[in-house]
């Protein structure tokens, strides 16, 4: 302003005086130097109290470009390997939760140049520079969001753990028949982090976002953004299991809400609490459905289960019949004619059970009196246990497995006859083992079965066409 320029002239003389007087006027520090100093002190201050060995280092030792004017002060990997801190041979293979992680393949073989700082980062406040499993999704989100069943094995290469359902059925992951490509049957909802970078992230550092993003569209921005952590741009959302199949991970209150009073808080207790009194009441049906018998024979899960059905698909609390399955459950998905299928199954199972039971009882009679440790007695006991499991677990849950179990029981009973030196009587006919494309799979009755009528609907045509 004109007014002040006059004063400039007037006070210009003062400058001479001030400098002549050997006394300098205190001047404010330049902005950048001051802010760098304050930033440096805040990080150091935040680091105190942690066990991170990096806390004792000067910021500029790793952040080679300095902290001033950078919202994301970069750390080049050479800063980590320089001056004998981290020998680049030290880093090898580490186990992160269920994943085996190889440093080398990530640093040198990756198509994207990930520096150390990509995963090992501290935010302001100075947490230790650890990198956890949550870091993986930052880059692999892209693959994860398009993952199919068998893609899990890319990282989870060796699923060798044994899980345990709330009902006490062990899940030996290594032995599961559907493990190839079928992880998603039980782990059906796995979080897929968002890989696209939100433009708001650019705005955190770049003043003119609009210009920057217009320029950067369609470009690989990774080479120009090394040294900063992946999470600076990509969402640090974890890749984790959100939900487990409700047929595996039974939640008691899903079906038995309010059984102990109206306090809804009780409904959220964990199954282990319920198990203290009601331990494993659904264990046998679950074994049947998942096809996981204690006999260590490879699992044969039910087709209904493998196609996405759960307990509540058939045992429906909303039908007014409690949790008992009615043929309505069949009809809801299949044609009304299917109303009788459940009845056929039940009749067929009961009939076979009666026949097998009689056969096993005969074997029991001939081995009666022998010691329980006797191999014949053991064989009979195994046959009896198989039948007990089948009747407790419900053959309807897994018809092919039920058929196999009947066969097993008969074979064991026949063995018992032979072991006591008797000729085994002929085993009763169980019919052919049901399988898709075979009428007995659904029309499951012994004896003569003649179906007549118009069965030329699309479904039956295809079934019959494949060998019914």
């Amino acid at each position: 302003m004109g007014r002040n320029s006059l004063l400039t002239l007037a006070l210009a003389t003062l400058v001479v005086v001030a400098s002549c007087a050997r006394e300098t006027t205190p001047r404010a520090e330049t902005g950048s130097a001051a802010s760098a100093a304050s930033a440096a002190s805040s990080v150091t201050a935040g680091s105190t109290g942690t066990t991170d060995p990096h806390a004792s280092l000067a910021c500029a030792q790793c952040h080679e470009g300095g902290l001033a004017d950078h919202r994301e002060p970069a750390v080049p990997s050479r800063a980590c390997t320089a001056s004998g801190c981290h020998n680049d041979n030290v880093v090898g293979t580490v186990r992160l939760a269920t994943v085996t992680f190889n440093h080398r393949s990530h640093v040198s073989d990756s198509t994207v140049a990930i520096g150390c700082a990509g995963c090992h980062a501290h935010r302001a406040g100075g947490q230790p520079l650890t990198a956890g499993a949550e870091t993986c999704g930052l880059c692999h989100a892209k693959e994860l969001s398009q993952a199919r069943g068998d893609d899990c094995r890319l990282c989870h290469s060796d699923p060798n753990w044994v899980g345990m359902t709330s009902q006490g059925v062990p899940i030996p992951h290594q032995d599961l028949p559907w493990i190839e490509g079928g992880c998603l049957r039980c782990h059906y909802e796995v979080t897929h982090p968002v890989h696209e970078v939100s433009l708001t992230r650019c705005a955190a550092c770049h003043q003119n976002v609009e210009a920057v993003t217009r320029q950067g569209i369609g470009e690989d921005l990774h080479p120009s953004h090394t040294g900063i952590t992946c999470a600076s741009c990509h969402e640090a959302d974890n890749h984790r299991i959100e939900a487990m199949s409700s047929a595996v991970d039974l939640r008691c209150a899903n079906c038995h809400a309010g059984v102990h009073g109206t306090d809804t808080a009780r409904d959220s207790v964990s199954p282990s609490t319920c198990n203290t009194c009601h331990g494993g009441v659904h264990r046998d049906p679950q074994r049947m459905l998942l096809g996981l018998l204690p006999d260590s024979v490879a699992a044969t899960p039910s087709n209904h289960f493998m196609n996405g059905l759960t307990c509540r698909s058939c045992h429906r609390p909303d039908t007014g019949t409690g949790n008992v399955t009615t043929s309505q459950a069949c009809v809801d998905c299949h044609r009304p004619e299917y109303a009788t299928v459940l009845k056929w199954w039940q009749q067929g199972l009961a009939e076979r059970m009666r026949l097998v039971d009689r056969y096993v009882a005969g074997a029991e009679r001939v081995t009666a009196g022998s010691a329980p440790t006797d191999s014949a007695a053991e064989a009979v006991a195994r046959a009896r246990a198989t039948l007990a499991l089948l009747s407790a677990g419900g053959g309807e849950h897994n018809i092919p497995l039920a058929q196999r179990m009947f066969g097993d029981a008969l074979r064991q009973a026949a063995d018992a006859y032979r072991l006591v030196g008797r000729t085994a009587p002929p085993t009763p006919s169980m019919g052919r083992a049901p399988r898709p494309g075979l009428c007995t799979y659904c029309h499951y009755r012994l004896g003569e079965l003649v179906i007549s009528g118009q069965m030329n609907d699309a479904f039956h045509r295809s079934v019959v066409g494949r060998g019914g």
Partner: protein, 297 residues
Amino acid sequence: MTDHIPEQPLNLDAAQRGDGPFVWRFERYHRITHAAVIVSFFLLVITGLPLRFSHAFWAGPLMSLLGGVKMAGILHRTGAVITFLYFSAHLFYVVRKLVRSPDPMKILWGPDSLVPQPRDIVDFWHQTRWYFGRGPRPRFGRWSYMEKFDYFAVFWGVAIIGGSGLLLWFPEFFSHFLPGWVFNVATVVHSDEALLAAGFIFTIHFFHVHLRPEKFPLDAVMFTGRATRSYMEEEHPGIMEEVERHASEAPSPHQIPDTPAPPPTRAASLTAAALGFIALAVGLSLIGMILWAVILY
């Protein structure tokens, strides 16, 4: 002050350097008034400057440091009240002195008077000749022309700034007698005269009293009230006769100018030096801020 143990003179203080016993130069009243001027002046400048240079980068932070515009206003008016008090007290002092003095003309004219006289023009001429190596330095009497200027600058400044400030403090009241434009003029005068006062004190006065090589870094004679004989010979050779006349007397604590004085205690010297340096530092910082604001905005 009852401590008579001879102590090492404080070399930082120009008034304590050199030979000779101490001589009283300022009485208690002068020193108290000067202290009141310092306190009120700093208070007024610090609270007023941010308004004058409200767009300078330091104005906002300084204002919040002071507790906001409203608080700064209260502090500014507190400074004004102190100023009005010492100004009235001084008027009373001058009148009383004139009335009580057997020879009032000695106060208004002559070697002991603060009133500018032809001799000051002569001194100024000699000073200028000395600058160009054309003669010795003038032999100043009790008050050099610089000191007389300082005195009347404050006298005039307080009247002008205080008067205009009072107008702006109570505009509604004064508008009963004065036209509206007076307040416009008062704003301009108050602000510019205050800038002149601050600029003058923090540069010219500071240089003349403290920072010129003869005295650097500090002259605390106005704080302790006394100076060495050497100092008096050098700065005020014109009144050495008067000093000689009292030289044989015993040092007295009565603070009568020109009479011998006990040396200031170490504590008093250090306090005076500390206060002096604080005032110098604050004043020079303020000048820095003014220059920054004037040059950059």
